[in-house]
Symmetry: D2
Subunit: 406 residues, 4 copies
C-alpha cells in the first residue's frame, strides 16, 4: 500500500491517460447560458445569453477554452420553436459547436399542468407524443444522436392520480417514439424522485427508467442526472449496475446539497463524483474500450456567471476523471481479493487526493487549450464584452427579465 | 386502555372543546390566492386572484365558509407597494377580513441576489433594514400585531460567504427592527434549512431562529413553518421545546413529501400534524390558558384551485386540532408514569383515529357556518364566477401569466 | 364529493369487505418474540420467549386473539439449527400455528464478516449457497411455500469491494437456489439501502431486487420491507409498480422514523401504510381477485412487550386494510378522470379518516375473536404467567441476556 | 484567483502551519479498540483489545506512530467499574498515554430501558445522577478535564413519553452535575437526532444541547459528533455558530453515509470534514489564538482492524486540518467582499485539492514520527503479535465474543 505522495505513472500509463482524456467530451446545455432562477424569482445577469446566437457563442467560447465541449444540447421549445431550421445548425457551426441531444419540452405549456404522456386526458397525451415525434424529426434532420427525455409528470397529492394507469400511458408513448427514431438515435430516459411534482413523479428512480427503457425498445437507455437521487443514495452503485446491465445511456452532471440544486459538479461532494467516474474507468480498464455514454452538463447557475460556471464544471469533471484514471487497479483488485479493507480504501482515496494538475497540463497542452482554462477565460474580457452587448440587445428588444413569486 | 370506538366526551369536556374550537383562528396569506408555480413555470388558473381586491375577496369567502380566517397576512411589496395605504385596510374590511401579519419582501429585488440583511455589501444591508422599518410603519398604521420575517439569505457554494460575519449582520438588522417596533408588535423569526439558497441559509433551523430572536429583543419569537425541516426531523419536539422556552411565536402551516413542497396541511402526514397540535393542546390543558400563537397558512397551490385548497387546509387544521382535544390527558399521564408503552401510544393514536365529525358539526353550527365548508363552497358557484370575471379583468389589463424556466 | 361522516357501505359492499378481511392473513416472525436490542445492548423482558416452544406459544396466542396469524416465519439458524426436524412442525401445530417462510441466516456467523453470497472468498460463497440449499430442503420438508432471502452483504468503505463482481456472484447464488426450489416454493428477494453495511448494500433497492429476481428465475419475486427505504421515498408507488409487473412477492411490515427502526405498523405514519394497502385493494377491486402476496410482520420490539406489540401491529394492519376497502373506487376513478385534485384527494383521505371499528367488529365476530383483541389480551394474564415461567426457565438454564456495546 | 498547482506557502506561513499542526492533538476512545458490532451481531477480531491494558497499549502505539494521541477517553462502566482506581492511571502512563475525558455510561444497564436522567421513575433518575457524580469524582482524581455526556434517552413511539417533562428532568440532572464539577472541568453535552431511541431523543440537536448547556452552567459546552446529524444538514455552519457563541466544547469525529455509521473520518465525504476544519482555522487565523476544543475520535470499526483504523483516521484529520491551514484567507476575504462566487469557491476548494503531503512530512519529521504512519504501523508486526497474544488471553479467560441478534 504505497502512499501516492505524487503522481507516479509509468510513461505508458501516462500516455494512455492522456489519450483517454483527450477523447473525453462533454455536452453543454443551451439553457445553461440563459437567465434562470428559483420559484422565488430570477436573478438577471447582464452577460446571460439573450438569444440562440448568444447561447452558441457561449458554448463555443467554453469549447475554445476547454477543448471538451464540441456539442450543445438543445431544447426544442426554446431553440427550435418552429420545427427544424437549418439556420440553427449553421449558427451553431459558426460558433464552433454542433447540435447535440434533442430535448422535447413537455412541462412548460399550460396544458401539461396535470402531466404530458401520463395525463389522464387522452388529447394531451396525443399532443405530447406528437411533440416527441416532431422532436425526433428535428433530431433526424439535425443529425442528433440522442433523444433526451425528461418528464415533469407526477402528482402533488395522494389520490390525485392513478399510478399504474399512468405507467401504461408513459410506456405506450415511449414505444411510439422509439418506433419513430432513426437507427442511429438513442433514447435517454431520465428520472427524478421529486420536483416539480411533490407527491410522486412518474419516472422516479433508475429502476423505473430501466423498465420504461426496456419496454420502449433496444435503443432506449437510462439517463442518470447526478442530482436526481434521494439523500443517502449510493449513486456510484446505480452507475455500476447500469454499466453491468448495458443500460447506461448518459449523464446529466451537477451537484446538490439537499434538493435538486443544480450546482456545479464537485462543489458539494467531489469525492462522490470521483467515485462515479471510478466505476466508468474501472469498466473501461477491464474491457479496454470506451463506454458509449452521453456526458452532459445540466446545471442552473443562479449566482454564478454562466460561462465561468460552465468552464469550472467542465474542468472539474476532467480533473475528477483524471483522478479516476490514476487508480492503481491491479493493486486494488489484489487488495480487495485479500479483504484488506484499510488498504483497498487507501488505494482508491489516495488517487482522489493526488494532485493531477501536472497530468492535466500535459493533456491541455496536447489539446491546445490554456493550462488553466478558468483563469484564462476570466482574464479574456469575453464576459465584460458580452454584458455590454447583451444589455444593449435586451434594451433594443424591450426585454425585461425577472418574474416574481406571486 | 379503553378503545375509543366513538367520541365519548363528558358534556363539560365537550363544551370546553367547542368553546376552544370556536376561538381557534388561523390567518390566510394574500399570496396564497394568486398564481404561483415552480422554477419550471407557473400554471395559471382562471379563478386566481388578479389584484388585492380579489385576494381579500377570496380570504373573505374562506372566512365566510369556515368562520376561522378573519385576518390576512400581507406582503409589503405586493400588497402595500407604495407604503401604508388606508384604502387597503378599507378594502379588506369591505370583504369581511382585516390586515394580519406584515411580511417584508427581502428576496425578490435583483439587489438581493447575494442576500439582504446578510449581504456583504453594506448598502444592500441598509436598504434591507430600511425596508423592514418601512414595513413596521405600515404595520403600525394597519394595527398589525406581527412582523413576520423570512430571509432568503444564504449561499449556494462553499467559500462563497462568511457564515459568522453574516450572523452578526443579521443580528444587527433584527435589533434595529426590534427597537422600532411598537409595543404591541411581535417579531416572528422564520427558519428554513434550504431553498432558495442551496449550500446554507442564514436562518437555518429553530436553534438559529431562537438565538436570533433572543439577540433581537424580548418581543421576538420563533416562527415554525412545518415544511421547513430536514427529513427525519421530529417537528413536534421542536414545538414542545419552544413552548417550554416561551419562544413559540407562530406557525406557517403546510405539508411536504420531500422538499419545501407547500402542500395543504395533513395531505402527506396527517398524524404528524396531529402530534404538533397535541403538544399545543397538552400545554393549554395543563395551564388552563390558550397559547398566544400566530397560526398562519403558508402554501402554494399549483394544481389545486386556490380557495378550495385554503378551505380544505383550514378545515383539516380544525379537524386535527379537534382530535388533539379529545386525547384523554389524565389517562395518558398515568399510563406514561407507569411506563406502559403500548397503552400510552394507544391513548394518543385512538384520539387521532376517532371520527370527530360530530364534534365539528356542533362547533360549526355554533359558528353559523356550513357543516361541510368545502362541499358547500364547491357548490356555491363562487369559483366559476370568479373565473369568468378575472379572466375578463386579465384581458382588459393585458396581463399574461406564465414565465418559462430559461 | 360526499363527506363520509360515517361508514356508509351498501350491504353487498360490506359483505364483500367482511369476506376479504376474513381471508386476510399475516405471518409473524419467530424472532419477534425473543429479546432483541440495538447495537448498544439488549433490554431483557421477563416474558420474552426463551425457546422455540415459547415462540410458537406466543404466535399461537396472537393467532387466538386476532384470528389472523396462522403461520410463523422461521430462521433456520435459530429454529432449525440441526436441519429439518419433524418435532418443530409438531411443536408449532401443538400451539395452533404452522411453519411459514424459511429464512436462511447468512449474516451472523463470523465467516460472513465480508459478505455471504457476495464474499470475495469463493469458499464462503459456497458455504452460503450450501446453507441456502439446506434451507430449501428444510422448507420442502416443512411444506413451506416461501424462501425469504435477506442478505446483509455490502461494504462499509469506498474501495473495499467490487460492486459489479459482487452482483454477478449474488446472481449465480440465487440461480442455484432457484433451480433447487420445489415447484410450489416462491423465492422472496428482500432489499435494504443501508445497515448493517454502511457504504453500500448489494441488494439495495427494489430495482436491484427486481433484476436479481428476474435473473434467478420465474418463481423469484421482490419482497418489500416497508422500513427499508430512503427518506422521502414513495413506497406505495414501488408497490404499485411491482404489482403491475407481477413481481410483488411479499411484505415485511413495520414503521420507522429515520433509519430501520423496526417499529410497529402505523406507529409513525399510518396514512402512508394505508396508501400501500390502497394500491393492493385497488388492484384487487379492478381484477376481482386476491393478490398472492406473502404478508409478514418484521419488527424488533425493544421497549414494547412482544406479544402486545405483535397483536397491536396485526390489528393495525387489519384496520388500515379495512380503511382501504371502503374507498369509493368508482367515484375516485371518475374524479381522477375529471382532474379534480381536491375532490380526488378527499375521497381517498376520507376513507382513511373514517372510523372502521364497526366494520372490524363484524369481521371479528365472524372470526370468533374478541372485538378488541389488544385489550382482551392485556386482560388475559398470559403475559404475567409467561414472565414467571420464563424467568424460572432462564434461571434453570443458567441463561443471562444482555450483551454490552464494547 | 491563482490556481494552486502546488503548495506555495511563504516560509513564515509554513512555520506557522507546522507549529500549529505540532500542537494539534486528538483523543482516542478506549472503546474503539474492543470488539463492537451492529445490532445483528459482533464480528470478532483476534487483535482486538481484551482488557484495559490492551486498550491503553493500542492507544499508546497509535500515539507512537502519529504523535497526536496522548490521551484516552474512558467509559466509567468499562474502564473504572469500581470507582477511581489509581492503577488505571498508572497503567495508562505505562503505555505512554493519559486519561482523557470521563464518559459516564447511562445506557447499558437494564434499568435505563426507559431512560436515565429523563426516566419517568424518580429512582432511576436519582441513580443516573449518582452515576454522573461518581464519574465526576473519578475524573477529579484522574485529573480529567472533561466530563463527556451522551444520553441514549428518548422514546420509540408517539405518546410514550412527555417531551417537556423530560426536558426539565434532564436540566435538573445537568445542573446537579455542573455544581459538583471541579473548577477545571468542562461538561460536554452531546446530541444525536436518532438511535437508539427511534421516535425522539431528548438531546436531539445542537439547539437542544446549547440550551441544556446554558441551563447547566458556565462550564458546560456543546459536543458535536459529526455523524449525529440529519441528512442534508450543514454541519460546518453549526460549528461556525457554536464558535461564534463560544459554546463549542468538543468534537466526536467520524463519518457516515446514511445513519450513525461511525466510519473513519473523511471516508465518505472528506470535503465536508475539511469545511468543518476550515471554520476552526478561520477563527484561529482571525484571533491569533488556538480554540480550546476537545478533539476526540468516536468510531466503531466493525470491519477494519482497530489500530489501523485509528491511525488512518487520526492522519486523515491531520491532513484535512493541514489543508484548511493553507487556505489563502486574505484572498478569500477579498473575493467574498467583491461577491466573486466562482473565485471564492476556487480559493477554498483549491486548498482542499492541494497535496499537503510535503507539509505533513515536515511536521512528522519535527514530531519524530514516521512520514507515513499507517504504512509504518502496518509493517511493524504489532497487529500480528497482538492477535496471537490476545487470542491466547481470551482462551485462558474462557471468553467468547459474538452475541446474536435474537
Amino acid at each position: 500500500m504505497a502512499r501516492r505522495d505524487k503522481l507516479l505513472l509509468s510513461s505508458s500509463a501516462q500516455e494512455r491517460a492522456v489519450r483517454r482524456l483527450k477523447r473525453f467530451q462533454i455536452e453543454v446545455p443551451s439553457w445553461g447560458f440563459a437567465n434562470t432562477g428559483t420559484r422565488f424569482g430570477k436573478f438577471s445577469q447582464d452577460a446571460a445569453a439573450v438569444d440562440l446566437g448568444d447561447k452558441f457563442a457561449d458554448a463555443g467560447i467554453t469549447h475554445q477554452f476547454t477543448g471538451m465541449t464540441p456539442s450543445v444540447a438543445v431544447h426544442v421549445l426554446w431553440d427550435f420553436p418552429g420545427g427544424f431550421d437549418k439556420s440553427v445548425v449553421t449558427l451553431a457551426r459558426k460558433h464552433g459547436v454542433r447540435i447535440g441531444a434533442i430535448n422535447p419540452n413537455l412541462f412548460q405549456d399550460q396544458c401539461y399542468k396535470f402531466g404530458s404522456v401520463c395525463n389522464s386526458d387522452a388529447r394531451i397525451r396525443r399532443r405530447a407524443v406528437k411533440h416527441m415525434l416532431d422532436s425526433i424529426e428535428i433530431g433526424r434532420q439535425a443529425k442528433s444522436e440522442h433523444l433526451s427525455l425528461w418528464f415533469a409528470d407526477g402528482a402533488n397529492y395522494p389520490g390525485q392520480a392513478d399510478i399504474r394507469r399512468r405507467k401504461k400511458w408513459a410506456t405506450s408513448a415511449l414505444q411510439k417514439a422509439h418506433k419513430t427514431m432513426p437507427r442511429n438515435m438513442t433514447m435517454l430516459v431520465e428520472y427524478k424522485p421529486f420536483e416539480p411534482a411533490a407527491y410522486f413523479t412518474d419516472f422516479f428512480d433508475w429502476g423505473s427508467s430501466y423498465l420504461f427503457a426496456k419496454a420502449a425498445g433496444p435503443r432506449a437507455k437510462v439517463l442518470v442526472d447526478t442530482g436526481h437521487h434521494l439523500l443517502g443514495c449510493n449513486i456510484e452503485q446505480i452507475v455500476a449496475w447500469l454499466i453491468d446491465e448495458k443500460m447506461l445511456g448518459g449523464f446529466h452532471f451537477n451537484d446538490r446539497k439537499y434538493a435538486d440544486d443544480d450546482l456545479t459538479v464537485g462543489s458539494i461532494d467531489p469525492y462522490q463524483a470521483f467515485r462515479i467516474f471510478n466505476e466508468i474507468v474501472a469498466y473501461e480498464w477491464e474491457t479496454g474500450r470506451d463506454l458509449d455514454i452521453a456526458y452532459t452538463i445540466d446545471q442552473s447557475h443562479n449566482v454564478k456567471p454562466k460561462v465561468q460556471a460552465t468552464i469550472q464544471t467542465v474542468c472539474m469533471v476532467q480533473e475528477l476523471f483524471a483522478k479516476a484514471m490514476i487508480v492503481d487497479r491491479k493493486a486494488l483488485a489484489a487488495s480487495q481479493a485479500s479483504q484488506d479493507t484499510v488498504g483497498s480504501e487507501e488505494i482508491l482515496r489516495r488517487a482522489f487526493l493526488t494532485d493531477v494538475t501536472p497530468l492535466l497540463k500535459v493533456v491541455r497542452k496536447a489539446m491546445k487549450v490554456p493550462a488553466d482554462p478558468l483563469s484564462a477565460y476570466r482574464a479574456s474580457g469575453y464576459e465584460q464584452q458580452a454584458a455590454v452587448q447583451r444589455k444593449a440587445k435586451r434594451k433594443a428588444l424591450g426585454l425585461s427579465e425577472g418574474g416574481s413569486y406571486a
